[in-house]
């Protein structure tokens, strides 16, 4: 049974690949979940079931771990994930205005996805490039020295 996933990937196949790659043991749980999250954009319930079966771990414990870590999502995300650094060093050099610009452009609250499924807006903790703040990360691209006027242009690059 296929699940609604990013790029039309087969969720079960992704799970099995991850488990085979890392090993079916408890201590590999976070790397496995990270791989699944990366391939599918999030961790569907069916994936949790399958991991639980393959590793031999109760589902409740899986949910306990998956829900603890910020970078693992149990909810579907948009085609592009925007992570905005909301920490003090970026804030102090103009982050607030960039955040406002992002809000104005997307009209969603943090954690939400735009109705057309294009963007999910998240906040992230410090990425460690504070000297070029404010910083916006979209998918794997790190954009530095962002000014509010540039937000529309940056977003326009992502389909």
């Amino acid at each position: 049974m296929t699940v609604a996933v990013k790029n039309g990937k087969d969720a079960m196949q992704v799970v099995r690949t991850a488990v085979v790659h890392h090993g079916a043991t408890r201590d590999e749980l976070i790397p496995i979940l990270t791989d699944i999250n990366h391939e599918l954009g999030y961790i569907p319930h069916e994936a949790v079931d399958e991991v639980s079966r393959l590793i031999g771990m109760p589902k409740s414990q899986l949910y306990s771990v998956a829900s603890f870590y910020d970078m693992l999502s149990l909810k579907p995300r948009g085609r592009h994930v925007i992570k905005f650094c909301e920490n003090a060093p970026c804030h102090v050099v103009g982050g607030r205005q960039v955040w406002q610009a992002l809000h104005d452009a997307l009209h969603v609250k943090p954690g939400e996805t735009t109705p057309d499924g294009r963007f999910t807006l998240l906040t992230t903790s410090c990425i460690g490039v504070c000297a070029v703040g404010p910083v916006v990360v979209i998918d794997d691209d790190v954009h530095g020295n962002v000014e509010p006027e540039q937000v529309a242009e940056i977003l326009a690059r992502y389909e």
Partner: protein, 122 residues
């Protein structure tokens, strides 16, 4: 790849590596190093690197070794490009946009003239 079994092995590798650098320097080869730490990339170092490589190809420049390195520490001035011509001291440029990279290649690397207004104190 040689397995290092002793301090002598290390010394040998060190000597070979230093010699390679020496050959590069005395052959008048130019070394262009782009800082590609995460902060450099966030400031646009990838585009700078691309511009450098494209210019070298388009203008058929030879004798230039392009390398990358990690964060140099002067993050305020990213993207940073360092140019070493032969045995001359290394020159560090800051805020190197793709356009400035082309300028540096043409004026300094090929023309031999340091582009003074783009230099960061080392």
């Amino acid at each position: 790849m040689p397995a290092v079994k002793s301090l002598d092995d290390l010394k040998r590798i060190k000597a070979e590596s230093l010699e390679k650098r020496q050959i590069k320097a005395s052959a008048g080869q130019a070394q262009v190093t782009v800082a590609m730490g995460t902060c450099g990339i966030a400031a646009g170092a990838r585009d700078t690197m691309k511009a450098i490589l494209e210019t070298i190809e388009a203008d058929q420049l030879s004798g230039i070794v392009v390398t990358q390195t990690g964060c140099i520490g002067q993050c305020e001035h990213e993207p940073i490009v360092q140019v070493t011509l032969g045995e001359q001291p290394k020159v560090t440029y800051g805020k190197v946009t793709p356009e400035r990279a082309r300028q540096i290649l043409k004026e300094h690397v090929v023309g031999g003239q340091v582009v003074k207004n783009l230099v960061v104190p080392a």
